[in-house]
């Protein structure tokens, strides 16, 4: 039951850190009502979120995990971007609006994590057939996580938060830290950069395609269309990455510019030179103090981006998207167009089917002739060593798939053809603009590949 304890402890510590930043911000700390509302918000988040995830009776009727994650991203983004809003407009709300705002902030600080924790703790308890023990250790972990906040409140109160943070930079820091902490990682492994980039790529590629069609310049598989290269570039993954960077970096850069664009204090009227120097020095040190959290956020976000994909790898290698089978028909249904994009963008797509503790990764791509190719993300020939798992499978470069191990280019038109360097074809059929992959056949093929590999002959 150490797992439940440690996971809950980690989440509570993270929440405690965010809570401390707000709680000991002078404008909040000075008002008892504000403090009370903020803590009340966190408590409500726990009381509403934890049971929603923990009790299957609620969980069954509520949203799927992916949808909760989506809303967590939205909540984080709103907090993150409020920084810009409050830089442009300096609001002077009434005390009741401040109190309500702090209550909601408290809710957003812990609601999604509490729900995910409830879900995970219930799962851990069910797996080990000790639900009560898991619950108790989870709750104990959570309480322990908040103890430092209570114990060190005297010292935390002395931190010069009023000098380091303005309201915009405080909100932006909280948003950025929420991105960095990334929810309960055991359930929601994805960093916000991945879905953001994927979503932007889908929007860009489909938007560009329809704009090309409006201009009567639709792309063609082999005829040279004016501006097709530029359109491909503008709607490609690099542009999506650039926009992701802009989305993530815009608030800190904006706040930083705003900070450094403040006019210097007017000191010519001050008679005493020492007094003049002191005024200028105070102004500069204030600026420096306020820049520290913004620059820290900047670094955190850059690390976060780097951790995902900001490498200069020319190969397009998307993260596999989990797929589940249709319980009645025992087939995987993959729509040709959904929120992950449209197959007509000719981008490689990878999917993972969780079979026991195995991960069956397969790929799908639209071939130049307009048909679909589906294959296992495994080469018939190349078998990288166990330590080199990153070199397993295929990536895309232009109209070719590239074996990541031997870098052999394979024309997309030959996907589904067995042999050579080609990926191992998977049996599928098309129905209502959906790719239907029979699960049984997929598993059999996967097992066959694994068994043969063990013998050292591999197909």
């Amino acid at each position: 039951m150490a797992d439940s304890f440690l996971i809950a402890l980690r989440e509570a510590l993270q929440c405690g850190l965010l809570l401390a930043l707000v709680l000991f911000f002078p404008a909040v700390a000075e008002s008892r009502r504000s403090t009370r509302n903020l803590i009340l918000g966190v408590a409500v988040a726990f009381l509403a979120g934890f049971p929603a995830g923990f009790f299957p009776v609620f969980n069954k009727h509520l949203l799927a995990n992916e949808t909760w994650t989506f809303w967590r991203y939205i909540a984080g983004s709103i907090i993150f971007y409020l920084g810009i809003l409050f830089t442009v407009r300096k609001p002077k709300p009434s005390p009741s609006i401040i109190a309500a705002g702090l209550f909601f902030l408290g809710v957003l600080l812990f609601f999604f994590e509490a729900r995910a924790l409830g879900f995970l703790i219930h799962d851990l308890g069910a797996m080990q057939e000790k639900p009560l023990t898991a619950l108790m250790s989870g709750l104990a972990g959570m309480l322990t996580g908040f103890i430092p906040l209570v114990l060190f409140r005297k010292y935390l109160r002395k931190l010069p938060l009023e000098r380091a943070f303005s309201l915009p930079s405080l909100l932006m820091t909280i948003g950025a830290l929420q991105f960095a902490f990334g929810g309960v990682s055991e359930l929601e492994r994805e960093n916000i950069m991945i879905p953001l980039q994927r979503g932007l790529l889908s929007l860009l590629s489909q938007g560009m395609k329809s704009f090309q069609s409006v201009l009567l310049l639709s792309e063609h598989p082999f005829l040279q269309v004016t501006g097709a290269g530029l359109a491909r570039y503008l709607s490609g993954d690099r542009m999506a990455l650039a926009l992701t960077v802009v989305f993530i970096i815009a608030p800190p850069v904006f706040i930083l510019i705003n900070l450094f664009a403040r006019p210097d204090p007017f000191v010519r009227d001050i008679q005493t030179p020492a007094h003049r120097r002191r005024t200028v020095a105070f102004f500069r040190s204030e600026m420096l103090y306020q820049a520290i959290p913004v620059l820290t956020v900047f670094v955190v976000l850059v690390v976060l981006l780097h951790a995902v994909n900001i490498s200069l790898n020319p190969l397009y290698d998307p993260a596999p998207v989990p797929v589940r089978d249709d319980a009645n028909e025992n087939v995987l249904r993959i729509p040709l167009a959904d929120k992950l994009g449209d197959f007509t963008d000719k981008k490689l797509r990878k999917y993972v089917y969780y079979y026991g503790n195995k991960q069956v990764v397969f790929l799908a791509v639209l071939k130049p002739d307009g048909s679909i190719g589906v294959a296992l993300d495994e080469c018939e020939i190349c078998r990288p060593a166990d330590w080199n798992v990153d070199a397993k499978g295929y990536a895309q470069k232009g109209g070719h798939l590239i074996c990541k191990y031997c870098m052999t280019p394979i024309p997309a038109s030959t996907i589904n053809n067995p042999g050579g360097c080609n990926p191992i074809p998977v049996h599928f059929r098309m129905e209502d603009n959906k790719i239907l992959v029979p699960v049984k056949e997929l598993i059999l093929l996967y097992q066959k590949v694994q068994e043969l590999e063990k013998k050292g002959t591999h197909l």
Partner: protein
């Protein structure tokens, strides 16, 4: 008063932000389902709520542009209240007149107007132009896009050389179809992408010939024409038992590897046709398998309904050759190219291009905004004191520093004058 407030809201950037946010949120909402982009576009252009949002955006952008242009060109009231809105203000001691400040500002390159006891000086008054150009382009694009969606008509037809087709009551004749088909296409390796550098259809209308390619559409008699595909037009004579029939196949089998199924209307036979590579033999050795696309070499699998499809009878034939598969004899005639032509009637297409071009020009012009921004100075003589206010559109911090330097310069001049007296 109420109209003023309404106008202010309609033309505000806050409304623009809210509308954009609403449009983005709706897209996010659709991402929960399948095919979000198509559903979002349908909502935006076809549903009343979406259209309302779209119209609001257009109205807001038009109003915002007017507001900015009027604000930049209108005469500013020169009062103490306006002075309060400037970035920096200072009271000048002594008996300096606004006219003196005006002369001094002229020397700094400002355009100056004197009104009574006040002075207004400005520089880069027309710096609103890049933004206005970009918004104008965007507005034209938004409006024409909407018109295009509701008025566009599209026809597509396959044309062979010499064939006449009626598009929107315009008789178009294809007088020639050209494509540079490689004679040595090798479908191996990373560089093997199949791209035709030149493909064009010569279309004739009332004695004039127009070229329609896969690039920008060609305008003929008010409609737009574009080449959207080329392929092989291959006549074939089929003899199955005693029945003989002729078929003109339009084969969409490019790039090599693509297969087309050809069904015969009055028979139970069908073919699958694809391109077959030639074997390149050099010094008696097989060097490779290349496609000679100028003289297509077909791989034709002949199948009969009800037969085992896994074992078709396969023929490999060139134009002018014959072959027999079972009791089916195929004789290929001379092959040519066909062109698939898309014809579009769209009154807004030219406007879409115009809007797009103007937006691009506006974007390029926006670069000038780094150094082309408005600077304003107001001096108001209240009788006992001359108050000066100064503001710059951007880089305000440096504007304020500049103002202090000017103020020092003026005081210095005053001191020198007094000394001379």
């Amino acid at each position: 008063m109420k109209i003023d407030r309404f106008g202010h809201i309609v033309s505000s950037w806050w409304l623009t932000g809210v509308l954009f946010l609403a449009i983005c949120s709706i897209y996010l909402f659709f991402t929960f389902g399948q095919d979000p982009y198509a559903r979002w576009a349908h909502f935006l252009f076809r549903s009343p709520a979406g259209l309302a949002l779209y119209f609001c955006l257009i109205v807001n952008l038009v109003a915002a542009s007017f507001r900015l242009v009027l604000r930049s060109l209108a005469l500013k009231p020169l009062s103490a209240e306006v002075l309060e809105t400037m970035d920096i203000r200072a009271e000048m001691p002594g008996r300096r007149r606004p006219q003196e400040i005006a002369a001094w500002m002229k020397s700094k390159g400002f355009a100056v107007t004197i009104r009574g006891n006040s002075m207004y000086a400005s520089k880069n008054k027309f710096s609103f132009l890049p933004g206005t150009v970009i918004r104008s382009g965007f507005i034209i694009l938004l409006v024409s896009l909407l018109v295009s969606i509701y008025s566009r008509e599209t026809r597509t037809a396959v044309l062979h050389e010499g064939q006449e087709t009626d598009f929107f009551s315009t008789k178009i004749t294809a007088t020639g179809i050209e494509a540079t088909l490689p004679s040595d296409f090798l479908q191996v390796g990373e560089e093997s992408s199949f791209q035709l550098e030149h493909a064009i259809a010569r279309l004739s209308f009332s004695g004039r010939t127009f070229l329609a390619g896969p690039g920008f559409p060609t305008r003929i008699n008010g409609n737009y024409y574009r080449l959207t595909n080329v392929g092989y037009a291959q006549p074939v004579l089929i003899k199955s038992g005693r029945v003989q029939s002729r078929l003109d196949m339009d084969l969409d089998i490019l790039p090599p590897g693509k297969t087309q199924i050809v069904t015969i209307p009055d028979g139970n036979i069908f073919f699958t046709v694809s391109l077959e590579p030639d074997r390149t033999i050099s010094k008696g050795l097989l060097k490779g398998r290349q496609f000679n696309l100028g003289k297509p070499f077909y791989r034709i699998a002949v199948l009969k309904n009800g037969e085992n499809k896994s074992k078709p009878r396969v023929l490999t034939l060139r134009q002018g050759e014959s072959g027999t598969a079972g009791n089916v004899k195929l004789s290929l005639g001379k092959s040519a190219l066909y062109a698939r032509i898309q014809a579009v009637r769209d009154p807004a297409l030219a406007w879409i291009y115009l809007g797009f071009s103007v937006t691009l020009i506006g974007l390029a012009l926006m670069l000038t905004r780094f150094f082309w921004y408005q600077k304003e100075m107001i001096a108001v003589d209240t009788g006992s004191m001359l108050t000066i206010g100064y503001c710059e559109e951007f880089f305000k911090k440096w504007g304020i520093q500049k103002f202090y330097a000017w103020k020092d310069e003026l005081l210095q001049m005053d001191a020198e004058k007094e000394h001379a007296h």
